[in-house]
């Protein structure tokens, strides 16, 4: 088992190195470069960029060098913990990302908790009471949840919460707290603004999870061991929660790998519509501005988180599922 873990670790390192190449190449794929988007911005603001200036800018940012040279320069700096300057923000990339990282994690974790808190009980209930009225109702709502793009939902909910309740539009803080230093009052203000984005982010995921949970559990409920457990006189509650639910949770453990990157840049469009100061809109902005260092670092971060997440989900699977552990000793 130890050798298995070591092997996975080594493989993870190779994967991460491959990701650095892929992420650097991906952001270079669209035609044009940061200087194009810079000129676009300058010109839409009435500015003028001369031919000489265009050349000088490419030289200044090293964009005139061949792509492999740019890649190695980037890698060399990263080895020293320097992710470069975000071209549009003109601040170090690490600062720009860290600025938004904590709020991002707060929003995403709240969304994930909400998803689980809603989806698991509903999924279990729907499976156990298959074809009941409540099951049909949840299924109906669930499909609507999957079908409506949640950015649309975000816009509608945002407009009505302003119209009906006079709530602030978008963002995570009231204007008076936006610039205030951290205090209990500010934390409370954040807590008040959190439910709306968390709910919208959670809805689509919840609908999906309910369906998965229901289907998995239905499979398990028909297994002979459930019948045996019942026959032996276990209480219904214990029969369901102790055995089939645990088995049905397997797919959740294996999706932890995707959860990690979701925490950092889940649902870019919803964050954009709700104007959340999170990493998602930052990535979009960086890609549009062709800011190779900022976009590259975020994509790399997402890649690394996926690799780590997959690794952890392997470990978790080994832990929750005796069948996998048994596979090693056999």
């Amino acid at each position: 088992m130890i050798t298995y873990i070591v092997k996975r670790l080594l493989l993870a390192l190779v994967t991460i190195w491959a990701i650095t190449i892929v992420s650097f190449v991906i952001i270079q794929l669209p035609p044009g470069d940061f200087v194009n988007s810079y000129i676009a911005q300058m010109s839409s603001a009435g500015g003028q960029v001369t031919i000489e200036e265009t050349k000088a800018l490419r030289e200044l940012y090293g964009l005139d060098r061949p792509i492999w040279e740019q890649y190695f320069a980037w890698m060399g700096r990263m080895a020293n913990g320097d992710f470069g300057q975000a071209l549009e923000f003109r601040r170090p990339v690490s600062e720009v990302i860290v600025d938004r990282l904590w709020l991002t994690i707060v929003v995403s974790v709240a969304a994930i908790m909400l998803t689980w808190m809603l989806a698991l009980p509903i999924g279990i209930y729907s499976a156990v009471n298959q074809y009941s009225f409540a099951d049909h109702a949840f299924t109906f709502i669930g499909f609507i949840g999957i079908a409506i793009p949640n950015f649309l939902l975000a816009l509608i909910i945002m407009y009505f919460s302003f119209k009906l309740f006079g709530a602030n539009v978008g963002g995570l803080f009231s204007p008076e707290f936006e610039r205030a230093a951290w205090s209990w009052a500010k934390v409370w203000d954040l807590a008040k603004h959190l439910p709306l984005p968390a709910l919208i982010l959670a809805l689509a995921g919840t609908a999906q999870l309910v369906r998965i949970m229901r289907a998995n559990l239905l499979d398990e409920l028909r297994r002979p061991y459930v019948v045996t457990a019942r026959a032996k006189g276990l209480r219904e509650r214990r029969v369901i929660l102790k055995y089939p639910v645990r088995a049905a949770l397997n797919p959740f453990a294996s999706t932890i790998g995707y959860l990690f990157p979701f925490i950092v840049s889940g649902s870019i469009i919803v964050s954009l519509v709700l104007s959340l100061p999170t990493v998602g809109p930052l990535l979009l902005r960086a890609l549009l501005a062709q800011d190779i260092y900022l976009a590259g670092t975020i994509i790399l971060l997402l890649g690394v988180l996926t690799v780590i997440g997959t690794f952890i989900s392997d470990l978790v699977l080994m832990w929750v599922d005796p069948r996998i552990r048994a596979g090693f000793s056999a």
Binding site: G32, N36, I39
Partner: protein, 678 residues
Amino acid sequence: MELKKLGTASVILLLGAATALLPGKIHAQDALSESGLVGELEGATLVLDPAAIPASFSEAPMLAERVGAGELPPVEERLPSEPLVIQPVHEIGQYGGTWRRGFLGPADGENGNRINASDKLLFWDHTGTEIVPSAAKGWELSEDGKTMTIELREGMKWSDGEPFTADDFVFWFEDIYNDRDIASLISDMSPGGKPGRVVKMDETTVQFQFDEPYFLFVDMLAGDTLIGGGQSVRQARGQSYGAYAPAHYLRQFLPKYAGQDAVDAMAAEDGFENWIQLFHFKKDWQLNPELPTIGPWVTVEPINTPSWVMERNPYYWAVDTEGNQLPYIDEIVMSLAEDTEVLNLRAVAGEYDLQERHIDLGKLPVILENAEGSDYSVHLDLAFNGSDTTLQFNQSYDADAEMAKWIKNADFRRALSLGIDRDQLNDTFWLGVGIPGSAVPADSSPYNPGPEWRDKWSTHDPDTANEMLDAIGLDQKDSEGFRVRTDNGERLRLEVQAVKAFLPWPQQAEMIAQQWKDIGIQADVKEFERGMAVGRTHNNEHQVMVWTNGGTELLYLFPRHAIPVDPTEAYVGPKWGTWYASNGAEGVKPDDPYMLEIYDLFRSAAGQKEEERYKTAQEIWKIVVDQQYGIGTVGQSPALMGVRLASNKLGNIPSRVCIAQHCRTPGGSHPETWFFKE
């Protein structure tokens, strides 16, 4: 209350009815003027008589406190001996308050530049027609037009209290503008291709000296040009123009004064790759709160954070007629909106005190509906440019010989222009408030060649268009009625490149494509992201580009949306534009005699006096419209920065302001005279 509500509702109805039932523009425009949303042009004015300078001065309480604490010298010592005296539009204001506003992030620096626009040497008055002093006290152009003398204000200071003198101009000229690592030569400073000079005469007198007559230079200094734009806009975002710079502060970042090793070390310490990047950062007022500036507000929290915050400049050199140092408002807080939709919704919710930037004309009904509840008033400011949506035909296109042949055919372009139903566009996208027609500026403009040029080739006449297209040899059609290419018999497909930027251009282009079906023309609308569209135009890849012609109302200061002279945006012919800008060294020489004539006229204008210059501009406009290089559609509208939401708490808000590139909306109406009434 109810009446007011009824009023706004009926405006929408009126506009709707006018646009739906009645034939055309006049009625919608009538409804517009009756709506009370379009006011009379007004604004703060300057009192230029030295005798009118108030005898004593007063200051904001927040500054008086700092004076009391010994942190600042008294207001008399902070002001120049002859401050700029501004007569507010309605009343003397009172100090205090925070102006809340929205911005879209680090690329939206223009949002703040424009508020600080009075840091220009010369400026336009509130009507946008007359040149007045601003940071400079006065100016004099020599008889031969070769020497411009600028007189500065004695005792004027930078925002850190250091003197603002002629040395700051010489420093800019010698150590910034003439350092090829930092800046490149600009045509603004080189009439006839011969570089000019900046010379110090005494502490408060500077001369710009040229080898050729340059009568246009007064306009250049007043306009939003590279030389005249002022420090805030022209030394931000990596640019290094604008005529002056804080020498006492910036010297420490230049190798010439601090030594190469020292600047390299500083750059490395701050995480920059080289000293040039560090220097561009340090002289950028949006990013560096330490930088001394001369605008009414200074940055305290930079633009690359969630809130861009500005505070009053304690050394601002303008007062009202009673001697109160301006600005009235203490602080400006711009909060980041990740997206224009959120920004518009926040504006509607009353979360901003004054916002015109990024407000979407299409949302006017919702904006009016919420005006009372959110306690703001709505003003529609009409622009002077002829066409918010212009189809620019790439005259140097060469990727497809057959298409290039037609794009360069004047009758082809004229026919396409006649195939556009501008009233339908106006009703759908401008809510009927624009004026349909060609690309020429407003009839009231001295650059306008005459009212008949509004309609020239710019009415809806599909029959004539069809005849013209048949006559030039495009008379063959395929089974679906579309005209076919003459080289291979396949359908002729015109590619129209559109960006979703200031207006919903892709949707507008789709409507035009539908209208062109009646004249048998197939247009393929291709939507691109803005940076990519710019890349394509720089590579000469586009056939037709949809863009505004905003700025062309002052043809000499902002020509590029009408004629290809500036490679930044030479949509009418990138290779021709490069040829012109490089004086023939690069690019391709036009094979079109009309364009060569435009170039000659344009080149000669810099040395002409005002009246003659206007005539030359009118000649250029006649050719531009007759040739239809850019097909105009609908303009003189509030679509770009002309929908203004002002909190009812604010005083001195003009009922209508000039919206134009050179008016630096809202800067031209002197935001430093706005104030909170309670």
